[in-house]
Assembly symmetry: C2
Amino acid sequence: MKTQAIFYHAGCPVCVAAEQQIADAIDSARFDVEIVHLGETQSRIGEAESVGVQSVPALVIGGQPFHINFGAAIADLK
Amino acid sequence: MKTQAIFYHAGCPVCVAAEQQIADAIDSARFDVEIVHLGETQSRIGEAESVGVQSVPALVIGGQPFHINFGAAIADLK
């Protein structure tokens, strides 16, 4: 079974760079990578916060949040 | 030809988590992932700084630095 990985972003330049380099580098044979734009899908902000995401871009793997550089704070997306 | 990815860390708990989740998730069919412990290999601090690494853990892909969460500042490793 593949491990779930969720990449949260907000369309910012820092986010796009992280998506193109980090999210794209993940092994799709072992991981299901979902890309979520929190600016457009605000209904999922709560889900991101619940696993500890404080800013975007962030990659959640196995339920653990990893903040990658800094694009925007979650609070600023609400 | 594989793309080079270098994961810089300093053995800290935040670094270990990032190595086990992020560095390990990278597709080894497309990327050559090198793991560098800057606390033990201080001679490579300059190389990391030259591509923009300011803290560890950090992943450099295609010459671009991505800081993952925050473990320690490069300045504190010198």
